[in-house]
């Protein structure tokens, strides 16, 4: 496989990949590596600036910011992957049906996609969360349900292209069923752009979750998430910069990492750029 070699050569994508791997490691190892319990209140050490004991300082309840950020990374990871997972599953099914069957099914599904794209999705999410109660599961579901349209369009385009390939005609002539043609012959060859879109989508989902939490309708305190830590931090911005800067930086680096990895994957997986 030349895949990893190409990834190693693409420096930006490699950096993105390393960031993503580190994030995974941090969130899986959270119970081991976080120096304090993220929820332990210590009234004696309120709003301490970064120090040897608390590298990122403490918040207004004396909780360790680093520990809360480490646990918060789990939220980001969960939201990112579950939301994008939902979006990819819906997008692949709708795009595959539209692209494979064509005709009026295609018209119907694609007009539905156009309709969904007309909603300003962030305000749709705001409205839905305002009606339902804000919880991490609702957030994941809503981000996923409003984010599948791009994937559906990509998958449809790929299906339209691959449907006309000779190997699909050959599959039909050797008696393969529709399901077999879709899942064995077309879908595996249609997934590259979906992988790229999903990687970029994770960054978007994390950003949306942070924004919702910042507005107070996302992950509810005391569960730590980078977004609601930012909110808490803004009240003490003048006297405790570390409360907002470190979670903000975490969001920035994470989103940048996923975006760089996604862009790199696009270059690597694009068949037109391949020498073969």
């Amino acid at each position: 496989m030349g895949f990893f070699k190409q990834l190693l050569r693409n420096k930006l994508a490699l950096m993105g990949g390393i960031v993503v791997v580190i994030l995974f490691a941090v969130s899986f190892l959270a119970p081991i590596i976080s120096p304090y319990n993220p929820d332990t209140i210590n009234v004696k050490e309120i709003l301490m600036p970064p120090s040897r004991q608390h590298p990122f300082g403490t918040d207004e309840l004396g909780r360790d910011v680093l520990s809360r950020m480490i646990w918060g990374s789990r939220i980001s990871l969960k939201v990112g992957f579950v939301a994008v997972g939902i979006a990819v599953i819906i997008g692949v099914i709708i795009g595959a049906a539209a692209g494979y069957y064509g005709g009026w099914i295609d018209d119907l599904l694609m007009r539905f996609v156009d309709m969904m794209l007309c909603f300003p999705s962030f305000f749709l999410i705001l409205a839905v969360i305002a009606i339902l109660e804000p919880s991490i599961y609702n957030i994941m579901a809503v981000i996923g349900l409003t984010g599948w349209m791009g994937v559906a369009r990509l998958v449809r385009a790929e299906f339209l292209r691959i449907r006309e390939m000779d190997y699909v005609k050959a599959a039909r002539s050797i008696g393969a069923s529709d399901l077999r043609i879709v899942f064995r012959h077309i879908l595996p060859n249609a997934l590259n752009p979906v992988i790229v879109a999903a990687t970029l989508g994770v960054a978007g989902a994390i950003l949306t979750e942070s924004a919702l939490s910042f507005l107070g309708i996302g992950v509810q305190p005391p569960t730590p998430s980078w977004g609601n830590m930012l909110t808490a931090g803004k009240n003490n911005m003048e006297i405790a910069w570390w409360l907002s800067v470190f979670p903000g930086l975490a969001i920035l680096v994470t989103v940048l990492g996923y975006n760089l990895l996604g862009e790199g994957l696009r270059d690597i997986l694009d068949p037109r750029l391949k020498e073969r």
Partner: protein
């Protein structure tokens, strides 16, 4: 000789849609009333220039695209109206090899997976039996058993075409539709694949419908040849007869364009002027009249039917209509049974 496959009056029109509501603007007449018979253990060559509907006929026979009208008789069933399950069963006996050996193999499957797929779809066999049959199929087309675990991109064009053949052969079909199987290959590799095809035909009693634009290839492999122009068969004959005594002006022009490997030999070329007319809603006239060196009044008015000259030679041209009113213009009379290059009265060089 037993009849293997009969095509009756096959028609395929592609509607051309335009505008927001998909208003039909007309129809591309890709295949327009084509009939022929493929005999058992024989090869029927289908020759014509790009866009004349040769491949469309192949796809229509397998019903990879649905014909507009007509019948395709195979094993006592009409494939055009056969219900899906019957069609699936009949496709076991009827296989296809495509032109592009790089597009006809799924790049994400190994050679073994590609070749055994027909078995998975049609038969319920054990994994070891399937492996045996894959190895047997590979050896039949001149590949090695260890090639089975590789991926298509590791092979050359000729080898890929052999893989396609192995896939087509594994169910022991009776008819193989070869859709320009060698035109994407180097000439030396072409010969190998063509010889392989002949060998397999002898050993497995196969019948081929061989689609190509290459007259030399067609001559090499075919027993009978049908020449197509713009969706219709204009001449059909035994291979020797067609190459020694072509009757239709189009066939004559095609044959005069075949290079002869002798630089000293002076030949008369028939150069056709203009382009192929649009297949979009053609007029009722003879489709070749706009480019025909022998075009007459009647050619602009009515299309000639395909009629028999002798028992195995059919041609669709008004020149050979015995009942036709005596030609008003002279200059056409002497062109009647001409050899290629002999009737170039009004051409430019």
């Amino acid at each position: 000789m037993a009849e293997m496959l009969r095509v009756n009056n096959l028609v395929k029109h592609f509607p051309v849609r335009q505008g927001f509501f998909g208003r039909s603007r007309g129809k591309i007449h890709a295949v327009d009333g084509v009939s022929f018979t493929l005999e058992e253990n024989q090869t029927l060559g289908l020759v014509g220039e790009s866009g004349c509907g040769k491949s469309t006929i192949g796809f229509c026979i397998l019903r990879l695209i649905k014909p507009t009208a007509g019948e395709v008789w195979f094993e006592g069933h009409n494939l055009v109206t056969a219900p899906p399950e019957t069609l699936r069963q009949l496709r076991k006996e009827l296989q296809i090899v495509f032109q592009d050996p790089f597009g006809s193999l799924n790049p994400r499957m190994t050679v073994a997976q590609i070749i055994e797929e027909p078995l998975l779809n049609h038969l319920d066999l054990s994994a070891s039996r399937r492996r045996e049959m894959v190895a047997e199929s590979l050896s039949m087309v001149g590949l090695l058993p260890e090639h089975a675990t590789r991926f298509p991109h590791e092979f050359s064009g000729g080898q890929r075409q052999r893989i396609c053949l192995a896939r087509a052969l594994i169910l022991r079909p009776k008819v193989i539709i070869c859709d320009e199987p060698v035109s994407a290959l180097d000439v030396s590799v072409q010969a190998q694949v063509l010889n392989l095809l002949s060998k397999l035909q002898r050993e497995l009693k196969l019948s081929y419908l061989f689609v190509s634009h290459d007259l030399a290839v067609i001559r090499h492999v075919s027993h009978r040849v049908a020449v197509m122009y713009l969706g219709q068969i204009v001449e059909e004959a035994d291979v020797k007869e067609l190459y020694s005594r072509p009757l239709h002006p189009y066939t004559q022009a095609l044959l005069s364009a075949v290079p002869v490997p002798n630089p000293r030999k002076r030949r008369r070329r028939i150069l056709l002027e203009g382009d192929v007319p649009s297949p979009l809603d053609p007029s009722p006239a003879c489709r070749f009249h706009s480019r025909c060196p022998n075009a007459m009044e009647i050619c602009r008015e009515a299309a000639p039917p395909l009629r028999s000259i002798n028992e195995d030679h059919q041609v669709a041209c008004h020149l050979y209509d015995e009942n036709r009113p005596a030609p008003a213009e002279s200059g056409n009379k002497k062109t009647l049974p001409a050899i290629p290059g002999g009737n170039t009265t009004n051409q430019t060089m």
